[in-house]
Structures are given as C-alpha cells and as structure tokens.
Assembly symmetry: C2
Homo-oligomer: 445 residues x 2
C-alpha cells in the first residue's frame, strides 16, 4: 500500500480523554474513531489488525476441529425467557422493540440461540461430539464504557459452543479449547495465563479466564511466577487425543494462578515466597463447562446408545477479538508508539523513501515494493513528500516490526537501512539481503 | 471436511412457509435457520458460501483501489438529525434507546457516519480521491420480511463511499464502481445488468441498479435483449484510466434497460420489437453519485488548490452480500437442488464412498481427499454409512459442481466416476485424472 493513496489519519496531539496507552495509541495511529460512547469505527489500519487477529482465531479453531457458522446480532427475547436469563441479565442487555412491537435484544452472548439451533436439528448421540463457533459483533450496554476497545459496548467476539454426550467428553472439549486458546494467543505474540475464575452469568463450575499481564489490567491477579515459564511452543497437538489435551491443561493450570474473584489467601501462602506475584491482568478469553444448564431448561435432548433421551452436555468458550488489540498494545509499546508482534502487524514492513522524486530512490523503493509483494508481504510504502523526521515518527507510531530506509547516499554504496522497531537497531545491507532477511522472519509464522 | 464430523442438517420435507426456490433450498440444504421474522442464522454450509461471496467482493474492491474499513452496526441518532434523514427514514429504521436514554439506531446504511469520519480527518484536496468501503451487517425493519435472505431484516451488505474534489472525478469513481461490480458478479457466475434506477432515500441523479434476471424477482424490468450479450470477460481493466472506465460504462448502459421505477414507454418503443423484453429481476447492487447532498448538510469541506473550502463530491455504492445467495440460487437450481457456480461453491468437490468400511474404497477416498486438499481444494467427503441413494440426493441438494463416486466395482478397474452437477453427465476415469480434471476447472477462478 502506498501511503499517498491510503487513509491513515495519525494525530499529532494526544487525545485528552484517553487514559491508557492502548486507547491513546489507537487514536493517535489512526486505527479507530469513537462514534458514540464505547462504539468505534475501525479505520483502515485498525481494521487490518482486527482481520489478522480474526484470521488467527479462525485458523486455530478449525485446526482443533471446530465448525464455523454465524448467528445474527439481534435475537428474540422469547429465547432468553426460556432459559430464565431475560430478566436476570440486567441493564447491560440492550433491549429493543421492533416495529411490530416484538421484544428483541442485541446479543451479548449466544448460549440460548445455539441451544435452539442444536435442539432443532440434532437428536442423536451419533452426531456428537460437535463444536460450533462464530466470530460476530456483540453488545453490552456498559454503564461506563472506557479504555477504548478494551471496554467498549459494541465488540467483536469469538464464541464457541460444545455439545457432548457425557461429562467426560464435555471436559475433553473444555481441555481442547484451553489448548487451542494457548496456541491462538502465542501465535499473536501474547502470553495469556489461564486462571481459575468465576463463571458469572454464564454458569457452571469449570471455568478459566485467560489473562495478559499488564499494569492497566482491570483485574488483580495472584500467581506463582513459575506459570510464566510454561510455553506451548511448537509441540505437536492431536486435538482428538484426550490424554494429551488433559496433560497440557494440567501442566498449565496446576500452578497457583487466580483472579481476585477466586483468590484463596491460604493456598497462595503455600507458593514459595520468592515466586508469589500480585499483579494486574487483562482478560482476553474465558472457557466454561456448564453441563446441562441450558440443555435442561431449553429441552436440548439427544438419544443415547441405550435409547434414552438425555440433556446434552454443553460448554461455551470466548475470545475477545476486538479487545485483543488493546491487550496487544498494552503489552507491546514504548514512548514512541506501538510495537506490533509479527503475527498480527497490519503491514509486515514499512518502506521510507528519504528523497521522494529522486529517480534512483523511487526506483529502489518500487523494486523493494515489488519483491515483498511477490512474497505475499505487502509493505506500507511512505511515498509522500515529507521530511524524513515526520516519516520516521509515523512509522514508529504505527509500529510496523521492520522499516527499510532508502536514500540516495546509501544507494551510492548499494545499500539500504533495515531497522527493527522492537530493538531500535539498524543495519545497512543490499536491498536483496534486506528482503531476504525480513521475509525469513515471516516464513515461520 | 468429513460429513460425519460436519453439521449439515438437511431437511427431507419442503418447508411450508417458503414460497420461492432459493428460500426453500437454503432451508432444505441446511444453510440457514430462521431465528425471528427476517433474521437468520447462517449454518456452516451457508456460512461458507457467504464467506466466498464476501471474499470475491473484497478482492474486486481492493483491485479497484478501494480501502477496507469497518463501521459499527449501532449509530447515534444525532448524526442522522444533521442530514435530516432521522425523521425522513420512516419505520424501516430500527430505533433504539440505550440505558442512558440516548437515541440510537441500527444502521440501515452509512452515508452519515462515513461523512462524519471524513470531515473529522480529511481537509485537503491532496488527500483525494478516496474510496472507503466495508462489509457489515445492517438492519431494515421490513414490514413483511419474506423470501428468506432475499428480503431479510438483518442483512450483510458491502457499502462503499467515494470522495472526490470535482464532479468529473466523482463521475469517474461512479464509472469505476460500475466496472468493478460487473467483474464482481461475473466472478460469481452471475449476469447482473446495470439498469437506470430511482435513487430513493439515498439521493442524487445518477444511479444504476444491478439486476439478475429471475422469474421470482421483486422488480419488473424492461430491456433490450442486446444487453444480455455484453460480457466483461477477461479484458484488462486499468481502474485509474478515466476513458476506459467511461467506455465500459457506456458500453453496458447505452442499451435500454430500466426498472419499472424509471421505465419510459416511448423510449422502450424505439427498441426493435424482436429485442424488447419484459421480465423480472432481483436487485443485487446499486451505485449512486449524489454530489454534495451530505457534505453540504454535514460540513464535509476540503480546501482546493486555490485555497477555497468546498464541499466534497460524494457517491455511495452497495452490493447485497447476503441477498446474493438467494439470487445465485434463483439463477442456478433444478428440481433436485442447488447448482453452485464454481466461483462461490461451499466445497469444490464432493466425494461419495459407496461402501464405507470397505478397506479399498476407504483408502481410495482418503487418497482423493489428500490430493485435493494439497491443491487447496477441500472436498466434502460423505463418509457416513448410508445408502448410495441418500448420499446422491444430499449431494444433488447441496449442489457441489463436481461429485466423485468411489466404489469397489470401479476400483477393480482402477476407475472412479466423475459427475457434473450442472450437466448431470458422468465419466469414469482414474483417480489421478479425476483430480487433475476437476483442479483444472478451479485453476482459472
């Protein structure tokens, strides 16, 4: 993308109403625009990151065998009356009356609707196990929306629902989700720690939240520092393997790690003192196994192998897709701007032309642009007639992992400059080697 | 995808409330489920087609130089009061009050919001031309939702907005959209004819609707049959080339083709009698150039090269993404079911195993599955223990363009059977040739 043809409205001044880094930087980098309290437009740069996160979530969900579908944003209130949650949910549910006077609502979550889909179409244990998921916009009418997309009202979420015949199978689905979530976050360059949590209005006894450690997190967290040493890494996961998924779940959850909602001071005291940590965390996902809570009240029954009709065992599993942008920036920024991990960056590399209009510099930039594009790595090319200082500041602000600086002086010696946004280190090399070096970084993602 | 692990709830009986073929077939093929009047869940098979259509729209928009972004579904009523449309829009607009008592609405279109984005961030002619677009859910509270996704209430639409300094530039943006839309529909295997239309609540003098001819269309259309002979085909389009885009526009719009809203009997009478056609059409897109209608009322001004502040010239351009599924099926089905064009089919090929459990047949199917998958063509493999007749009926109903039938008898002779859904013709060949033959059909898409 040539910047002269793009829409990247970066702001010079820091918006006064943004109190945390990610909110400030998303506004300054021209990623979002607030349209109403807690409701945002995703400007082109923000949209690109949102799509990258969505893509990673889709890929990891499907790798785990989960089936994508899509439910509407608006739901009938009647469904929620069946489960008893219509009255329970409180003012966070946006209630709507349509022109025919029907009670509708903007879905804050979809347990009722997916249970309705299931009970209408599935009747036999032979169709189980089954996991359906979607990535769809949701609405929660927060009384104090704040922190930008971290606590917005209209937000994008992946929500998945598992259907199993037995509790044992349901717990495998739970473990499988835990493992697939670990992989999902790691691919984005995030460490998200599963912590025992409270189930809230979703229900059920088994639930873990995934938290990213950050000073600006909304939850206080208590953990054994040993949990931060565990990584999933490149290990091979067979998602149908019950024992392997359980072993990974146990490995990641056996150390003490809890949010303030479930914190137990006595248990925490048993953690060796030098490993006890109290910090803050941002919730980026949560998994639940709640058994028959919805299937009983809504009549989602299947015939088992003995011919008996039994309520299906269910769980639900969420990833905060839009909120992840905030969490990623909270965990990856400095005083100059954002530092995107390579897995989610809006553009893999930025090209800065120090002398736009100079035939040789322009030609070298065009050649780099073509080489990267041919490799499927579309650069953001700053082809504006601006001072170098302004171009560098913009690149630092929007946080592309790699920058190539092209100028007449370097070209005389046959070199361009490659700069890492994270380390700040620069190195001169031929354009060919620059392409090769940067392409290598993306080859394994 | 193995059918035994998929969620494809096909219906045996024909739903009684579905009066047109596409609605009936989408329900029977397990593509959608109605959740409320005019509001649907997209079950896995329907979701796959929806995503294919979305992908083609994205690719063609970006090929034309348009920039993707995303606006929220809910909007503030205040924006619509600025343009004067809040009171004008009538009962089709779903009006919502949030917990703070603010007037909101579920966006039926986005001229106001995009104008707000533009005026907040763009001030100079140097940033023009600019085209921003999104694919996002919208809501129109139709008094009589019907025909399934063809006239639903919650629907997915691509809406794009052009910003230009002069009327002349604005008309080029209009022509560019017309050309890119032609290519978009052709890639889906659809002929959509641009017809002079009425601008309705959007406004402006220049507007064309794109109509797919179908008996079940909601609009009466009048046209010179010569328009159906024109195809864009594989010609090379330079979207920045003003003359070329205008020439294509003129080629496609110089013959008489109008909806009942703009029909002119005297002009129509001048068409040679043997080429006069009266038929019905399904609207699948519309383009508008309305100049300064919104930029004046909402103060979206830019400084021109003389230093004067002038209202920006705007247009808007829509494609009915979810409705296209209905239009595609209306144009492509027979008494057995859907016949997907190869550009949008949910799976490129279906594999039917005539003797599930037979070691040789299973191995041959697995090998075919692997070969197609390695080429990026994921098959739908019917690996259930069902009668052949039931398997064939399902494949015919869901309409995959190609079916490979694998059975012990054929395998003894080293062959499988390849069947075209459209022609119904079958041919025996080796599995290797079957893969090669079908892969070729998708290579040029």
């Amino acid at each position: 993308m040539r910047l002269s043809r793009y829409f990247l409205p970066v702001l010079k001044e820091t918006p006064s109403d943004a109190t945390i880094a990610s909110h400030r930087l998303m506004l300054r980098a021209g990623m979002i625009r607030q349209q109403s309290a807690g409701i945002y437009s995703w400007l082109p740069l923000g949209y690109r990151v949102l799509k990258n996160i969505e893509r990673i979530v889709h890929e990891e969900q499907q790798r785990a065998g989960h089936i994508p579908m899509l439910m509407p944003t608006l739901q009938s209130a009647d469904l929620w009356r069946e489960s008893g949650r219509y009255d329970d949910y409180g003012e966070e549910m946006l209630r709507i009356t349509d022109r025919q006077g029907r009670d509708m609502l903007y879905g804050p979550t979809n347990e009722e609707m997916i249970t309705d889909v299931f009970r209408s179409h599935v009747g036999s244990y032979k169709d189980l196990p089954m996991t359906l998921y979607q990535i769809q916009w949701k609405f929660r009418d927060e009384v104090r929306p704040r922190f930008g997309v971290m606590r917005g009202r209209e937000f994008l979420m992946k929500d998945g629902y598992t259907f199993d015949l037995t509790v044992e199978d349901g717990l495998h689905s739970y473990n499988r989700h835990l493992v697939s979530y670990l992989r999902t976050y790691e691919r984005m360059g995030l460490q998200a720690i599963p912590m025992r949590a409270d189930s809230g209005p979703i229900g059920g006894d088994d639930t873990h939240e995934f938290l990213v450690l950050a000073e600006t997190g909304e939850s206080e967290v208590f953990y054994d520092s040993a949990v931060t040493d565990i990584k999933l890494g490149q290990r091979d996961i067979a998602y149908d393997d019950v024992d392997q998924c359980r072993a990974v779940m146990e490995e990641f959850t056996s150390r003490y790690a809890r949010t303030d909602e479930t914190h137990d001071a006595d248990l925490f005291a048993q953690v060796p003192e030098d490993r006890r940590r109290v910090a803050r965390g941002i919730e980026v996902g949560q998994i639940f196994f709640f058994g028959t809570k919805y299937s009983e009240s809504m009549g989602a029954l299947v015939v088992n192998d003995k011919g008996e009709r039994v309520p299906v065992q269910m769980g639900s599993h969420g990833i905060g897709v839009s909120r992840l942008l905030g969490a990623l920036i909270e965990a990856n920024h400095d005083e100059k701007g954002i530092i995107w991990p390579e897995g989610v960056t809006p553009f893999p590399v930025g090209i800065v032309n120090l002398k736009q209009g100079d035939a040789e510099a322009d030609a070298a930039c065009d050649a780099l642009y073509k080489s990267f594009s041919a490799l499927g790595l579309e650069p953001l090319y700053d082809d504006r007639k601006e001072r170098a200082g302004g171009k560098f500041a913009t690149m630092d602000l929007i946080g592309l992992p790699w920058r190539i600086t092209v100028g007449p002086r370097g070209l005389k010696n046959g070199v361009v400059e490659v700069t890492s946004r994270r380390s700040g280190e620069s190195e001169e090399m031929t354009p060919e080697l620059a392409v090769e070096t940067i392409a290598k970084r993306y080859a394994t993602l």
